[in-house]
């Protein structure tokens, strides 16, 4: 038959066959209840499991993302080799020159910033409290994914001019200013006055620090902070952000190559600086979460495959029970392909009805979990549109795979058997 004729036949046959399939389902839903329950269960599980999985994934991205997910902290340590006539165990000290070297000599790095942190007394008329203060270049804002809730973050101009300005972690507003608007007000940091120019958005718990420390910190420009926090020139840490996450090992190599000559270090020296890298730290968690997602996916697939077995069983039973009907249809002019189409349409209807019900139940369960009182920082499941479409695609594939073999067998019914039905 030419394709156009086939298509016309398909278009003519499918609507009444869908009607028949729905009638059959209505009339014999009790017999099909178990199969339907299997499909409903399978579809609901897949939606729920995949949504939980994407929730976990968000949690991971979010947990690391809140602190920045790919920077490498370079810390000065002690030498382990003899160099330049000096014994091993020499303390390495970073200054702005090291930062400049890293910026100029590490092509794989997108951003580099120096940061000093210290706990110092911070004073306002309302309160005096020892607080963690970070002094860093404005690039820290991007590297550590800060977000400004009110006011602004300090910029390159503030840094260049050495302005004494400060950005507060979200939880410090109440501590130092109570109900007052902190913007434009002054706090004393290490004895020097700093003007509050911004407040960060609350970050909550972060994987990297296993705390909500960023919400309880004060951020100031490096130039002003160096004077208030230290000796005016020593730098504690340089944070380097690779352009691409996979370049992290290259960045380490390039940092060594850039800094070694500055400190007269021989190539065999390995301990003069240490690296702490977010990708390295997050890797094991990511692996665990990946395995977890894989597990959820496998459980979902196995559940659906079991539902598929139910569908195959049902189709075999239908094909067997309805041999007489199929034979009569053959006497009325149905081709074998028409009977196959009929049984596949029935499979599809059962699968889609069960699947729709299952997806609805799965989505409701997800919504319920989302609004339920969850433990703090428990990752809520997230519904991805692709989860719903994937579930339906898998269901249709399972249904067709389960329905084709029984349909083929059923379509071979001998039309002459219609005469022998008693």
């Amino acid at each position: 038959m030419p394709p156009r004729e086939k298509l016309a036949r398909l278009r003519r046959l499918v609507p009444p066959l869908v009607g028949d399939a729905l009638d059959n389902l209505r009339a014999s839903w009790r017999a099909q209840a178990l199969t339907l329950a299997g499909i409903v269960w399978g579809a609901a599980s897949v939606v729920l499991l995949l949504s939980l999985g994407s929730g976990f994934n968000d949690f991971l991205d979010f947990g690391f993302g809140k602190t920045g997910d790919r920077w490498v902290a370079v810390d000065p340590e002690y030498t382990s080799t003899e160099a330049g006539g000096r014994l091993p165990g020499r303390r390495i000290r970073f200054t702005v020159r090291d930062l400049d070297r890293v910026r100029a000599g590490v092509p794989s790095a997108g951003r580099a910033v120096a940061e000093n942190q210290d706990i110092v007394p911070v004073v306002t008329p309302r309160r005096t409290r020892a607080t963690v203060v970070s002094a860093a270049g404005p690039e820290l804002f991007h590297i550590q994914n800060h977000a400004v809730g009110r006011g602004r973050y300090f910029d390159a101009d503030d840094e260049r001019r050495g302005r004494r300005v400060a950005v507060l972690g979200a939880d410090l507003v109440e501590v130092f200013f109570g109900d007052l608007d902190p913007l434009g007000r002054t706090l004393q940091i290490g004895g020097e006055p700093f003007e509050v120019i911004g407040v960060l958005v609350r970050k909550g718990w972060q994987f990297m620090t296993n705390s909500d420390i960023h919400d309880r910190m004060i951020f100031v420009p490096l130039s002003a902070g160096l004077r208030a926090l230290g000796d005016g020139e020593t730098i504690e840490t340089i944070l380097v952000e690779p352009r691409r996450i996979q370049d992290e090992p290259v960045v380490r190599r390039e940092v060594r190559a850039a800094l070694w000559p500055l400190h007269n270090l021989p190539p065999e020296e390995t301990r003069a600086v240490s690296f702490m890298s977010v990708p390295e730290i997050s890797e094991p968690s990511r692996r665990i979460f990946f395995v977890l997602q894989l597990l959820l996916g496998v459980v979902g697939t196995v559940t659906l495959a079991m539902a598929g077995t139910g569908v195959a069983n049902l189709m075999i039973a239908i094909a067997h029970e309805r041999r007489a009907e199929l034979a009569v249809r053959r006497t009325c002019g149905a081709r074998r392909a028409d009977l196959m189409l009929q049984l596949l349409v029935e499979t599809a209807v059962v699968v889609l009805v069960g699947g729709t019900l299952g997806v609805a139940i799965g989505l409701s369960a997800v919504l319920l979990i989302q609004v339920a009182p969850l433990p703090p920082d428990f990752p809520p499941p997230r519904i991805l549109p692709s989860v719903v479409s994937t579930t339906f695609l898998v269901l249709v594939a399972v249904g067709l795979a389960a329905g084709v073999a029984p349909a083929r067998v059923a379509a071979r019914v001998d039309p002459a058997s219609a005469l022998r039905v008693t």
Binding site: M1, A8, R9, R12, L13, P15, P16, D20, D23, N24, A27, A324, E325, V328, R329, R330, T331, C332, G333, A334, R335, R336, A337, D338, D414, P415, A416, A418, L419, R420, V421, T422
Partner: protein, 227 residues
């Protein structure tokens, strides 16, 4: 003008375990347009197998079958299905209606496979059911109808594609005497209207109405005579 149906030395064999059994053993038969034929014979004589061949439900093992001039013994399965959809109608002893379909949809079934659109299918099935006195049963399902009404729906289904021949297998076998008579009167009307009818039956009262009675025994035509 040639015969509507022409069988020449038609044989039908079935394999039975290791051996083969020949049910039809050389049938020669011509059926002209408009004839009303009763095929009779004892159980196991080959009546139903003959109806099966005549209705293009299976192919002869040997011999030739021309329907309306076409040699159909060489038709493939789809071509036979299309032939049944367009030019044949069947009436069964047990009605063989689809239990979950209304009378209209049951009657319209062959049109679905013959290529008619939905509106045409419905209109033709309704018209036919009304002509057969089932105007009040159009949307009823078989379970809500009497045996006679069901057989009328089955006859409507057999006629809906305006077939060249209607083949019936013991059409009154499951009906009480009065209802059986009504159905036979309907067959008379169809015959009177020029329809070709071939009926397999045990019942003498069916044979009495037919214009020609063919008796079969052991797979051969024993007699073929005007009634």
């Amino acid at each position: 003008m040639g015969a509507l149906i022409a069988l020449r030395d038609v044989r039908k064999r079935f394999s039975l375990g290791e051996g083969e059994v020949e049910i039809l053993r050389g049938i020669d038969l011509d059926v002209d347009e408009g004839e009303f034929i009763a095929i009779m014979g004892p159980s196991g004589s080959g009546k139903t197998t003959m109806l099966e061949i005549l209705g293009a439900l299976s192919r002869p093992s040997a011999g030739s079958y021309h329907f309306d001039g076409d040699a159909i013994e060489s038709h493939d399965d789809d071509a036979l299905a299309d032939l049944r959809a367009a030019r044949m109608g069947f009436v069964f002893q047990t009605f063989n209606l689809m239990p979950r379909m209304t009378a209209v949809r049951n009657a319209a079934l062959p049109l679905l496979y013959a290529g008619a659109g939905r509106a045409e299918r419905e209109a033709r099935a309704r018209g036919l059911l009304e002509r057969l006195g089932l105007g009040h049963r159009l949307d009823h399902r078989p379970g809500q109808m009497s045996g006679g009404e069901r057989q009328r729906v089955a006859i409507a289904r057999a006629l809906v594609n305006d077939p060249r021949v209607v083949l019936a297998d013991e059409p009154t076998g499951n009906l009480d005497e009065k209802t059986g008579r009504e159905i036979l009167e309907l067959f008379d009307d169809l015959h009177g209207g020029g329809r070709t009818l071939i009926v397999v039956t045990h019942a003498p009262e069916v044979a009495e109405r037919a214009g020609r009675v063919i008796r079969i025994r052991d797979g051969r035509i024993e007699s073929d005579a005007a009634a």
